[in-house]
């Protein structure tokens, strides 16, 4: 009788423990998803800002049609991108175009004094930061989640219920890492 009770008690403890582990994994997987959607929100925000920015700058930067055109093109490519790989590449091309634009702006004091433009510039800087930070938060979440799916004993549960490891968000295109070249010719 006593042995039976101990057995039942043991089984209950193990089940509770397993359920806790399973729920923990689900929570982490949701955190990863949530972090990913956060990146998307920020990318969309950047897309929304660009037409405004180009519109404001156009009047001041008559000789920089190419720079502005590059931004507009990169934006439409990024918005039309289908696969994740394409998207990542298009977005980093857009980042490159924007940082080049920001450098060129230094030559236009009138534009820099424009209240409207200053507000837009702050928004754009902040959005760029938010993209970087949401990426960072995503990678943090992925690392915690992956560790749990690979480490003993939670990897057993992960294997049983098909919790797959997530991928890190890496910037493949080197264009985003290096600062854009300024051409004075």
């Amino acid at each position: 009788m006593l042995g039976f009770l101990v057995l039942v008690g043991l089984i209950v403890v193990i089940v509770v423990w397993l359920v806790g582990m399973y729920n923990g994994l689900v929570g982490l997987r949701n955190a990863v998803k949530n972090a990913w959607s956060q990146i998307d929100v920020q990318l969309k925000r950047r897309h929304d800002l660009i037409p405004n920015l180009v519109e404001t700058a156009k009047g001041y930067m008559k000789h920089e049609r190419e720079t502005l055109q590059a931004i507009t093109d990169a934006r439409s490519r990024a918005m039309g991108a289908g696969t994740v790989g394409e998207k990542a590449q298009a977005e980093s091309a857009l980042s490159g175009a924007i940082s080049k634009f920001m450098l060129v702006v230094e030559n236009y004091p009138d534009l820099k004094a424009n209240q409207n433009f200053l507000a837009l510039q702050e928004e754009l800087t902040s959005t760029e930061n938010k993209i970087a930070f949401s990426r960072q938060a995503y990678n943090d979440a992925v690392m915690t989640y992956n560790n749990k799916t690979q480490m003993f004993p939670s990897n057993i549960i992960a294997g049983m219920f098909n919790f797959q490891a997530s991928e890190f968000f890496q910037v493949e295109d080197a264009a985003e890492r290096k600062t854009p070249k300024v051409d004075f010719s």
């Binding site: 209240q115 200053l118 902040s126 938010k130 960072q136 690392m143 915690t144």
Partner: protein, 475 residues
């Protein structure tokens, strides 16, 4: 990050239990002195109730008491877009469940604090002086440090432990004064001695006095030790969130060099700030009794971080500067061998706003009205001003106080123009430019339009009425 929070919580619990034991012990000793032989239990219960009541008060309204006590005013994204953006960036980086509320304190001192019992309803307050002196990176560093306090659950801890410290201080104070006034051969002590028969009672009484003197000191030391450690921890979190140690380092440097004290801050809330707000008062105290680690040391640690911005790098920099094998971060947080490179500085070397702009922001938060006179003078009209016109002190021109046109007028205009019945909103205000503007709502509340305002209507925070904003370009 999660291990860090868990470890933090465990350590807090230990400290918490130690302080609780101190409180209960004090209650027992006092109770036993006054009403032997069974008074001890009563004393413990009373001490527990005092703590519980204070805790409940601080849990339910601690944040608002604190914000009110320093005169913090909530800011909208409209009034200071940059501060708001920086807070949102940190919210994203730390994956907070909700955006913290943002407050500004009208003071030239450089300081900031975080409050709120849960990450779901937190708040970050910065002083106007800080806004005017910091550039974007430095502001980000400060906000990241405060976000670190929120994610590490420091606010919760500081509040509860602070309340417990307060309870211990109050109880022992009352006891000691009671003794003083009842005199050395007090009637109560005397009678108790009579009842329980001499020595036992006397020993307990002496123990109670000793405990009443020592308990507040011990509780304080416990509290300060943990509070200092938490500052380092928040610094480490800030470095990791921003990936830019220099931002926080130069912000701390500016804070250290400023001489203004933050008024209206008492000792109880001092540990919540980024740097000790009671600088001059605390200057003489030794390391042991300070709520904050020496600022120069924090800067040195931040500046000697090399090779990355993870917790591991902070820990090794910490050890290098302090020269001791002290652990500030748990092993589990250091094991995650991740490469988090330090990012380059943002392209904005100068401070974000001049002193005058920040003054305007503080006035905007407090409901001042901005009026540009034809002569170029910018008049700032306080919200108490009731007359319909204001005379320019420089050129003598009589200016109308701008108000939103009331529903009736707007309705007439609207029907004339479109030939249709007007819809909501009822009030209309026509913008005159694209700079700072403000006007009075029908209810008398001042509504602000910042240069960044881009919407076409604004809702009064006082009466809830919606005012349509017409752009000058549209008209």
């Amino acid at each position: 990050m999660w291990e860090l929070i868990a470890q933090n919580r465990r350590r807090s619990w230990w400290l918490f239990l130690a302080m609780g034991a101190l409180l209960i012990g004090l209650g027992y000793a006092i109770g036993a002195t006054y009403a032997p032989p069974n008074g001890g239990v009563g004393g413990m219960i009373v001490a527990g109730i005092v703590w519980l009541v204070l805790s409940l008060i601080s849990y339910s309204s601690g944040a608002s008491i604190m914000l009110n006590s320093v005169g913090a005013k909530e800011v909208t994204p409209d009034i200071h877009p940059q501060l708001f953006n920086v807070v949102e960036e940190m919210k994203i980086a730390a994956a907070l469940p909700k955006m913290p509320k943002v407050y500004v304190i009208d003071s030239p001192a450089l300081n900031a604090f975080a409050t709120g019992m849960k990450p779901e309803n937190s708040a970050i307050a910065v002083t106007a002086g800080l806004l005017s002196r910091m550039n974007r990176d430095e502001l980000q560093g400060v906000v990241a440090h405060e976000t670190g306090h929120i994610t590490n659950r420091d606010v919760q801890f500081v509040t509860f432990a602070g309340v417990m410290l307060g309870a211990i201080v109050i109880i022992s104070e009352i006891f000691l004064r009671g003794l003083w006034y009842s005199g050395g051969s007090g009637r109560r002590l005397g009678s108790s001695r009579g009842k329980s028969g001499g020595q036992g009672g006397a020993i307990i009484a002496v123990a109670a006095v000793v405990l009443a003197i020592l308990a507040p000191i011990m509780a304080r030391l416990l509290y300060f030790a943990i509070s200092r450690r938490r500052e380092y921890l928040a610094d480490a979190t800030a470095v990791r969130l921003t990936r830019y140690p220099e931002g926080l380092a130069s912000a701390l440097e500016k804070i250290a060099n400023s001489t203004e004290d933050l008024p209206k801050v008492n000792k109880a809330i001092a540990p919540m700030f980024i740097a000790n707000p009671l600088k001059r008062a605390g200057a003489k105290l030794s390391d042991l009794t300070s709520t904050h680690p020496p600022i120069s040391q924090r800067i040195r640690i931040l500046r000697s971080i090399a090779g990355g911005s993870g917790y591991l790098e902070y820990q090794s920099a910490f050890n290098a500067v302090r020269g001791k094998g002290e652990r500030i971060l748990p092993n589990s947080a250091l094991d995650q061998n991740e490469a988090v490179p330090i990012r380059p500085p943002a392209a904005e070397p100068k401070p974000s706003g001049q002193r005058r702009d920040v003054n305007d922001i503080v006035r905007a938060v407090n409901g001042f009205l901005f009026l540009n006179c034809a002569c170029g003078l910018k008049m700032k009209v306080p919200p108490e001003y009731q007359k319909p016109t204001v005379t320019c002190p420089r050129c003598g021109t009589v200016n109308q106080i701008p108000t939103a046109e009331l529903a009736a007028v707007a309705a007439v205009l609207e029907t004339q123009r479109a030939g249709a019945a007007p819809e909501q909103p009822g009030q209309v205000y026509r913008r005159r430019g694209s700079g700072w503007e403000s006007f009075r709502c029908g209810c008398g509340r001042t509504l602000q339009l910042s240069p960044a305002f881009a919407g076409d209507q604004i809702t009064c925070s006082n009466c809830g009425r919606v005012t349509a904003i017409e752009d000058t370009k549209d008209a």
